[in-house]
């Protein structure tokens, strides 16, 4: 238990540190920035959050997170902001925005495991449905725009990012179904 907790913390911290140290090459491309660096920070945060699920901070947060609503609302706002092209590009030029990017996404990941476990299937579907829908629409827009959305990134890069966002949205939705299926099947058997 303690060992798995330690390795969870180590892996999470390592992922976030890698996203920070490899900032320059990752942020040189829109696709790597959005599809690799941002998810790495969030996954790093999730590993930390899961490892620290029995901590005091987690217990305090639980009081503010009935049905997982607060953590899932944070998920929607954080993902929405970083999919705004201008919002994302500001992180390239303003160190404070870059810091906010790491903090908001790491926190999003950290809150997510416990919030998901507190949310029932309907609430999960509402928030993840919104997230995947938003991500897919953003991805379609990125591909369709004749002009560049970020001045720092080339049009080809934007199109690749758009394709990646659509794929990620579909995978997230599919993953949720696969994850929820055994529970739904079990509930069916009980009924």
């Amino acid at each position: 238990m303690i060992r798995s907790r330690r390795s969870g913390i180590a892996c999470g911290a390592l992922l976030i540190a890698a996203a920070l140290i490899l900032r320059a090459p990752l942020e040189a491309s829109m696709a790597l920035h959005m599809l690799l660096q941002l998810p790495a920070i969030a996954i790093g945060g999730a590993l930390l959050g899961y490892a620290l699920r029995d901590s005091r901070a987690a217990a305090v947060f639980a009081r503010f997170d009935a049905l997982g609503l607060t953590g899932l609302a944070w998920l929607l706002f954080a993902t929405a902001y970083w999919m705004i092209p201008r919002g994302l590009e500001l992180s390239l030029t303003l160190p404070l925005v870059e810091a906010a990017k790491f903090a908001s996404l790491a926190l999003m990941g950290a809150l997510l495991p416990a919030s998901l476990s507190r949310a029932n299937a309907v609430i999960q579907m509402f928030f993840l449905g919104n997230l995947t829908w938003m991500m897919a629409i953003a991805g379609i827009q990125y591909q369709n725009m004749p002009q560049r959305l970020c001045n720092a990134y080339a049009l080809d890069d934007q199109i690749i990012t758009g394709v990646g966002l659509v794929i990620m949205a579909v995978l997230l939705g599919a993953a949720w179904c696969v994850w929820q299926y055994p529970q739904a099947a079990a509930a069916d058997r009980r009924a």
């Binding site: 503010f64 706002f77 201008r86 560049r148 959305l149 970020c150």
Partner: protein, 212 residues
């Protein structure tokens, strides 16, 4: 999750937290979209310039008392700037035909350090630029990044010695202030806006009165 009483979810605390998350999220998105008005960096740049005109530290030789329609370019460009180049040629022609050369002029500003005065002169010749209407200028090394940053022009090195950059028509008033940016696909809008700037309403009415 153990159901210790200290970690029991509270609906009023959750409601308060939700309000905070929503307020913070909305404020962030407000900031990122300049008040829910833009999503792209380029639209944001244009809006910011319109709201806060700024003086570009251009070489003194490039100053002019007329309204300037400035574009950023590099002489070797084969992509967007060559289409902007032909738009500028047409604009030059319109300015000549309509006798507007004492109100508006064109300025092409190169951000490419390889563009020395020879390269610019050659480009000017290739474009058949009339020096009374359309001039080319480079930027001194020390000022280049400063000018680009102030104008919000981002230059990305591309393969084969090319660059990708946010091309547009930049309207600079008689006082040297960059006041408006017009899309490079709308040269007519840019020219009309420049003419509107060159004749303030009062003077225009006065001139019309004289004409009558």
């Amino acid at each position: 999750m153990t159901s210790r009483s200290s970690s029991k979810p509270s609906s009023s605390l959750t409601a308060a937290a939700l309000v905070c998350v929503a307020a913070l999220g909305a404020a962030a998105i407000w900031y990122g979209t300049m008040g829910f008005r833009v999503v792209s960096t380029e639209d944001g740049r244009r809006l910011a310039i319109e709201e806060q005109p700024r003086t570009l530290p251009l070489p003194p030789a490039a100053a002019d008392k007329r309204i300037t329609i400035a574009t950023f370019f590099y002489a070797r460009c084969n992509a967007v700037c060559s289409s902007v180049g032909s738009e500028l040629q047409q604009m030059q022609q319109k300015i000549t035909e309509q006798g507007l050369q004492d109100r508006v002029r064109l300025l092409s500003i190169s951000f490419d350090p390889r563009d020395n005065s020879d390269a610019l002169a050659h480009y000017s010749q290739r474009m058949r630029a009339d020096p009374a209407i359309w001039r080319m200028t480079g930027l001194p090394d020390a000022q280049r990044q400063n000018v680009l940053d102030l104008a919000g022009v981002v230059v990305l090195p591309a393969p084969l010695g090319e660059y990708q950059h946010n091309a547009a028509f930049h309207l600079i008033d008689a006082g040297g202030k960059l006041v408006r940016v017009v899309d490079y696909e709308q040269p007519d809008v840019a020219l009309a806006a420049a003419l509107a700037m060159s004749a303030p309403p009062a003077r225009l009415a006065h001139a019309e009165g004289e004409a009558r």
